[in-house]
C-alpha cells in the first residue's frame, strides 16, 4: 500500500517526528511504499544539517536523512513554513543573499501542492503533530 506522512512539529520538542520515523520504518519493513514525507509547520526544523545532539541521544535529522538515502524516500520541506523559520537550502540561501544555509542532505524544499499531491496519490495519509 502507498502511504504518505505529514509531520507538524520539529525534532525533540515533541515526539511527533520520532513516532513518524518509527512508523515509516515499520511501514517500509512491512513492504509498503512511502510516497512522500511532508514536513510542515515547525516540522521543517527536522531538516537541519546543523544539529549536534548529545552523543547518548538520537540524531533525529540524521535518522531521516539516512532513511531517505537507504529507501529513496522523498522528504519534502514546505517552502513557506521553511522561510518563516529559517530553513534554507543552498539555492534559496543564494537567492535571499545569505552566505549560509542549513538544509540537510536528503531533504528538498518545495510548495504546499506537494502535500495535496501526496494526499491524491497515496492510499493513506497519516499526520503526526502536537
Amino acid at each position: 500500500m502507498k502511504f504518505s506522512i505529514q509531520i507538524n512539529e520539529g525534532p525533540y520538542q515533541h515526539q511527533a517526528s520520532d513516532t513518524a520515523y518509527q512508523f515509516a520504518r515499520a511501514a517500509l519493513a512491512a513492504g509498503h511504499e512511502i510516497f512522500r514525507v511532508f514536513f510542515y509547520h515547525d516540522g521543517v526544523n527536522n531538516a537541519t544539517k546543523l544539529a549536534v545532539p548529545p552523543q547518548d541521544d538520537r540524531d533525529i535529522p540524521k535518522l531521516w536523512s539516512e532513511l531517505s538515502k537507504e529507501n529513496d524516500l522523498d522528504l519534502v520541506v514546505c517552502i513557506a513554513a521553511a522561510q518563516r523559520r529559517g530553513m534554507m537550502d543552498v539555492d534559496e540561501a543564494k537567492r535571499q543573499g545569505f552566505e549560509d544555509n542549513n538544509l540537510n542532505e536528503g531533504f528538498r524544499i518545495s510548495g504546499l501542492g506537494q502535500l495535496i499531491e501526496a494526499g491524491i496519490e497515496s492510499d493513506r495519509l497519516v499526520v503526526f503533530g502536537a
Binding site: 511501514a27 519493513a29 499526520v127 503533530g129
Partner: protein
C-alpha cells in the same frame, strides 16, 4: 467506511481524547499513542469512558506505554500494538484522523 482515530495527548490535560470519543463511530478504532497512552491505564476517568464506548475498538502503542512505565496499569479490553501493528491499523482502515 471505517476510520482510524489517533490520540497523542493526555486525557488529563487536553480535551483531544474526549473530542475523539465524540467522533468515534461504531466500527472505528481509536489508537492511543505518545502521551495519549495515559488514557489506556486503569483507575481513572479515561478508563471509564473507554468502557462506555461500545462498538469502538481501542488500541494502544506498546512502545509508548512501556516508555512511560505503565505496562502493568493497562486497562482491560485495550489491544497493545507495536509500530508494525500501527501500520497494519492504518492499512486496515479507510482513512486516518489524528486528534492532535
Amino acid at each position: 467506511m471505517t476510520l482510524l482515530h489517533t490520540v497523542n495527548k493526555s486525557p488529563f490535560e487536553s480535551m483531544s481524547f474526549d473530542t475523539c470519543l465524540g467522533y468515534a463511530k461504531d466500527g472505528s478504532t481509536v489508537l492511543l499513542i505518545e502521551d495519549g497512552v495515559y488514557a489506556a491505564t486503569t483507575g481513572n476517568s479515561a478508563a471509564d469512558k473507554i468502557k462506555n464506548a461500545s462498538g469502538v475498538t481501542f488500541a494502544v502503542l506498546g512502545p509508548d506505554l512501556q516508555a512511560r512505565g505503565l505496562e502493568n496499569k493497562l486497562a482491560d479490553g485495550i489491544k497493545v500494538v507495536d509500530y508494525e501493528g500501527f501500520v497494519n491499523l492504518v492499512a486496515e482502515h479507510d482513512s486516518v484522523q489524528s486528534w492532535l
